[in-house]
Symmetry: C2
Subunit: 305 residues, 2 copies
């Protein structure tokens, strides 16, 4: 029933850092990514090619990506560094920096889509179609996000049928993987299961990833409920980076340390070395000046003291 | 597969507070229990009849219990207030205070038993046999705890067979319910499932309760995995009180708010009112001078601001 292996897509250096108050320089982000790769992660979101005025945390993402790619080439390692791309201009910049994988970002909530990217779902898919076409012509892999997959900060409930519809549209654009994001962390296991089951009718489960936030503490329970459905790609962020822009003081992405602790305990291979992961978490938390949000990291660090 | 109803045994005023650094006076603990009962909880651990020198946090437990019982009688409500009792002397004190339910505390780890209560498992069961006999003769209900159910801070691994053996012995003493405690929070879902399945071969599952700590962030995932096995009684602590005496800075009991949030989302009835629960959490966190450890509480409070 359970997958023997799970691939973790580490989103701390992008989804995490872009929601942190403190803006970190390029060197720090490059070093974080280097430490994450050293811990055994093989897919690390490296940045976002959006307006630096709108999201200053992601300024210099081209430099971050170039440095990460160079370091990986030196090490002879195989690590993917997807970067978020909102439009054709972002794609061009990403390609200039050497991107081999991009991610596009749609929502399952019409209201959220309009507030977040200033256009409705249909228009966003049209925009991404052009981006995806150009990217694939250049042999880039394209990852798709569906945000608000278990709820929307504005309109509340989001039906699983709508998530399946948007995921299907992204798949039709040629996305090799669709990450289903409970970006506000409100979902519980019953909803998570129903949503993934519904989406899997439209997009084969081997093309799906689960992206949970731990805002309400539900992330591991939600992950635990979707693993037996065949989901074997999980998004998570080192140290639970990210907070939640819609709930001050609330926690953000599920912490990679908590996910790896659970997978290790369940005998599911992730290839990630916990000790090195803790080192990466310590590094970035010191730079951000805030505690590690991972409970496993806090407990393991306390134990080793 | 899932239970339609779950009974929560609120352990914050005992298992929680006894592991908090700040010692709270009787009035504060009585008010906490009153607020918890008002939130709809129908089983609230009220105290521990142990040496006040050894555990000053539980001094005056007789007064706390009397006040709680009086308040419930006034309100005409049906709430149970189990109290921890280590020996016959503790039982006498509990009965003088009007206890109608006691709890005894065994371990599935020989080393932990010796370090925690200064005697091995076999001797502790003998001691509890006398306590249970006397209690049942006086028509008191007896609840049994098995600690270290998924691991021991001293000896590490604990086999599910040993947990089943100790749970069976407690059941043989007449315990109406056996609470299986991962008291250091190290377990993950696969282990939790295997342990409960093994115990259920020895003690019918309707007599079992699950008691998880969130030290490594695994509690809700573990709860989620044991619910389909028929476990319908869950221990939890308001605001995640308790910390972990073996891992400084680490979190303690799973927070009642996180459990209720999950159960509500899954459509499982607990009878607990989240709004009133948040009020109780705010109250006790202010008294303890520390943040609420519940992620659901933090997010809901942030949202309502």
């Amino acid at each position: 029933m359970l997958p023997q292996r799970v691939k973790i897509v580490e989103v701390g250096a992008r989804d995490g850092l872009q929601n942190e108050t403190r803006v970190l320089p390029v060197e720090t982000r490059v070093e974080l990514i280097r430490l994450l790769a050293e811990a055994g992660l093989t897919a690390i979101e490296a940045g976002s090619f959006v307006s630096a005025k709108r999201i200053p945390q992601m300024a210099g993402s081209g430099d971050v990506l170039q440095a990460a790619l160079a370091a990986t080439a030196d090490a002879g390692a195989a690590c993917a560094y997807p970067v978020l791309v909102p439009n054709l201009r972002g794609l061009e910049a990403a390609m200039q920096a050497g991107a081999t994988e991009i991610a596009v970002f749609a929502a399952a909530s019409e209201t959220f889509s309009r507030k977040n990217i200033n256009c409705g779902i249909a228009e966003s898919i049209e925009r991404f179609a052009a981006v995806a076409e150009r990217a694939r012509a250049a042999n880039l892999r394209v990852r798709g996000y569906v945000s608000c997959a278990l709820g929307c900060p504005y309109q509340g409930e989001v039906g699983p049928g709508e998530v399946a519809r948007v995921a299907g549209l992204l798949r039709d654009l040629g996305c090799h993987q669709i990450s289903l994001g409970d970006t506000i962390g409100v979902g519980t296991p019953g909803q998570a299961r129903a949503m993934v089951e519904r989406v899997a009718e439209r997009v084969p489960v081997e093309h799906l990833a689960a992206h949970f936030h731990d805002t309400y503490g539900q992330a591991l329970a939600n992950i635990h409920t979707v693993l037996p459905l065949g989901v074997s790609v999980l998004d998570s962020a080192i140290a639970g980076l990210g907070g939640c822009p819609f709930a001050a003081g609330a926690s953000g992405n599920v912490a990679t340390e908590d996910v790896v602790y659970m997978l290790d305990g369940m005998g599911i291979h992730s290839g990630v070395d916990m000790r090195k992961l803790l080192f990466a978490g310590d590094y970035i938390c010191a730079k951000l000046g805030r505690p590690n949000q991972s409970r496993a990291a806090a407990a393991l660090s306390a134990r080793s003291r």
